[in-house]
Amino acid sequence: MEDKQIIELYNQRKEAAIEHTAEKYTAYCFNIANNILHNHEDSEECVNDTWMKAWNAIPPTVPTYLRVFLGKITRNLSFDKYRASHSESRGGGQMAVVLDELEEIVAGSSDVEAHYEQKELVEAINTYLKKLPERDCNIFIRRYFYAEETGVIARRYGIKESNVLMILSRTRKKLHTFLKEEDFIS
């Protein structure tokens, strides 16, 4: 079923909306959750919660891209669950590596300096990503939005994993510099 039709079902408050959403987007959302959680059961739970969140959000929200809309919900839910189960512990799983990599970008900044709104930070990241060469931007998103394994990213773009690592390393450095220039980090 087309996304527009599914959204129409949500607007009409028909529960078939959830059924069709699940049919079409379970694999997509499950993988986002599983990349973060590395746990089948928890990932399934997040996916089911995603349908409920979507049900509550549409209407009034009318997603431009239903898939991305759902993906973002799953990602948030999964990350909340990840944080709840890992608190401050380090190590283990892909998500820990992803966070360690992000640590490089925010390195040197303190926890108490948040004088910005999150939406300003999001806008800055959007600006930065749009300046990147297309492939570097895509690789960044596969890694830090989807928390995808570098080996999987390498296969996706037909390049060596070591090249993915190099591109990620460079984009992290550039983002660090960019956020510094924009006063998001000290």
């Binding site: 379970t26 694999a27 997509y28 089948h40 999001v122 959007n126 995808e148 080996g151 296969r155 090249n163």
Partner: protein
């Protein structure tokens, strides 16, 4: 800011960016490999044509019977876009959560207009070029002018260069015949002996396929020496960058700098070459299932010195909690790979163990007991081990081509590979972060050897000439040069288009008194963007260039 905040902010980025990142994979497919082979065939034919032209002294039409590229490689795709089977692209892909790579690993797919969205058009800028920036997914580099090994104020030059598209077709992969001619004049009353350096940006693979520059002095072909120059440096952002991955001519300019500064021949690092190392070599690898879909083998050991561990033919490396995991695919070993781990300190690794995995993922849930391998240990000099890597490097053979390198090419290849290994070793020996270049190669000797064969570098075509007092000589360089292009998904407006940058003053110390650019064609091309002022319809095919200009460019569509 905490890393968690950043992760959450990334979760709110523009939907269009996320959609874009899920587009069809741009990777080397079977179709791409066929394109490479077709490219080789085109090259061979074009070179044949060039030779014929030289012999006959006139142009003769060619009918290149090149192997056709898969029409699907630039056509409308069939099937789902999520070839990796991650489910993250196309929700209709049957999903197996136990199998992270449940899709086919190699695709014949491509993409075409039907795949394009507004977002694609926005980001897939492709061959958008201007005189200061040229961006395309694949940029083989600009045409660069000759320079002198040592600047000489008595010597000036007039340049007359031609892009000859006469025999180029859509199947030529953008390779165009270049004739770059120079009239060198000596204004002094003494003969001037100078060393000419002609910069050629390309790969040993391309040279082996016939794009090596041929040099003529006063009409006579001469045997010129060729040496490798820059292959990495700082890009325009100040980051380490390999020439192959430079995104624009400006970045290449940053990396290369002064061409004459690259003449020093780098010697092999004797200390590194003679170093006694410990080699673990793996063979007799077996698994219970189909090796094409199943089976990886990995070793794990404790180390805090992973920079000093090198590899050959491995499939994956991960460093977690002080342990290095090194894995290789069963199928690859059964196809002829010889995985090796080289411990540069010559010492046995600590807490060493081996384990089979159903995938190249070193998690407990993928551990299996029915993958096995034999391991042998030996001591050797590092140089011997690297020679084995060079000897086993599957270059042309991997693509189904049976060709050998000429003596000159083999020497260049081995020298270039040795230079890369020495550079990586040198950088690994430094304290501090794992820099980009070392990260790119990940201590994989196979990757370094492969890069030496296929990676873009600056080659210097070198020959000495004497310019008589008050007189002049003519030197010509003839070769094939590929245009920049998108490998897979060109914007519809740029189908069959290639971009050609001409950096008329890049890296040179030469004083030019005139530069003229010419274009030859037979109604087989159209120029869709340029800053030369060519006008094919009006017959203006020759223009004098402004000597202080940085770049000239043109985007050409192949019509036939």
């Amino acid at each position: 800011m905490r890393r968690e905040e950043l992760f959450q902010a990334i979760g709110q980025i523009d939907d269009t960016l996320i959609v874009k990142s899920g587009k069809r994979a741009k990777r080397k497919s079977k179709a791409m490999l066929r394109t490479v082979i077709a490219m080789a065939a085109s090259l061979a034919l074009l070179l044949g044509a060039a030779t014929a032209l030289n012999q006959a002294g006139l142009l003769k039409p060619l009918s290149p019977e090149v192997e056709q590229t898969d029409p699907d490689s630039h056509g409308i795709p069939g099937g789902p876009s999520d070839e990796l089977g991650t489910g993250l692209d196309d929700p209709d892909v049957p999903f197996n959560p136990e199998d992270p790579y449940d899709g086919p690993l190699i695709s014949d797919g491509g993409c075409g207009p039907d795949d394009l969205t507004d977002t694609d058009v926005e980001y897939n800028r492709g061959l958008v070029s201007n005189e200061y920036e040229s961006f395309a997914e694949f940029n083989p580099g600009p045409l660069m002018p000759v320079t002198l090994a040592q600047a000489n104020s008595f010597v000036t030059a007039q340049r007359d260069m031609t892009y000859d598209f006469s025999e180029v077709t859509k199947q030529s992969d953008g390779f165009v015949a270049i004739r770059d001619s120079y009239e060198f004049t000596n204004s002094s009353d003494e003969d001037q002996e100078v060393t000419l350096l002609y910069p050629y940006l390309g790969t040993i693979y391309e040279m082996n396929n016939g794009s090596k520059p041929e040099v003529k002095v006063n009409g006579e072909t001469v045997l010129a020496d060729i040496q490798t120059g820059a292959y990495y440096g700082k890009d325009s952002f100040g980051y380490e960058q390999l020439l192959s991955f430079a995104h624009s001519t400006d970045e290449m300019d940053c990396i290369i700098g002064d061409v004459a500064s690259h003449t020093e021949v780098k010697e092999v690092d004797e200390e590194l070459w003679n170093k006694k190392v410990l080699v673990y070599e793996f063979s007799d690898v077996k698994c219970a299932g189909d090796p094409a879909e199943y089976g990886a083998y990995a070793v794990k050991f404790k180390t805090d010195d992973y920079k000093n561990i090198y590899f050959q033919d491995i499939g994956g490396v991960t460093y977690v909690d002080g342990y290095l995991y090194v894995g290789f695919y069963v199928e690859d070993v059964q196809s002829g790979d010889t995985p090796k781990i080289i411990f540069m300190d010559g010492k046995e690794p600590e807490d060493y163990s081996e384990q089979g995995y159903s995938y190249m993922e070193f998690f407990e849930q993928y551990e299996v007991d029915d993958v096995s391998a034999s391991m042998t240990k030996r001591e050797a000099a590092f140089g011997e081990v690297f020679e084995e890597v060079i000897a086993s490097n599957r270059t042309a053979k991997q693509w189904g081509e049976e060709r050998t390198l000429s003596e000159q090419e083999q020497k260049l290849y081995e020298g270039f590979a040795a230079q890369i290994v020495s550079d990586v070793a040198l950088r690994n020996a430094k304290d501090g972060e794992y820099d980009d270049m070392a990260a790119y190669f990940s201590n994989s000797l196979s990757d370094m050897a492969y890069y030496a064969y296929t990676g873009t570098t600056l080659f210097l075509v070198k020959n000495e000439v004497t310019i008589p007092a008050g007189g002049s000589i003519r030197v010509e360089y003839e070769y094939l040069k590929q245009g920049m292009h998108e490998l897979t998904c060109p914007e519809p407006d740029f189908n069959d288009c290639y971009g050609y940058d001409n950096a008329i003053n890049m890296g040179t110390n030469m004083t030019f008194t005139k530069q003229v650019a010419n274009i030859a064609e037979q109604g087989n091309i159209e120029i869709i963007d340029q800053n030369y002022r060519f006008d094919l319809a009006a017959g203006r095919k020759s223009v004098e260039l402004e000597l202080d200009a940085e770049r000239y460019y043109m985007i050409v569509r192949m019509l036939k």
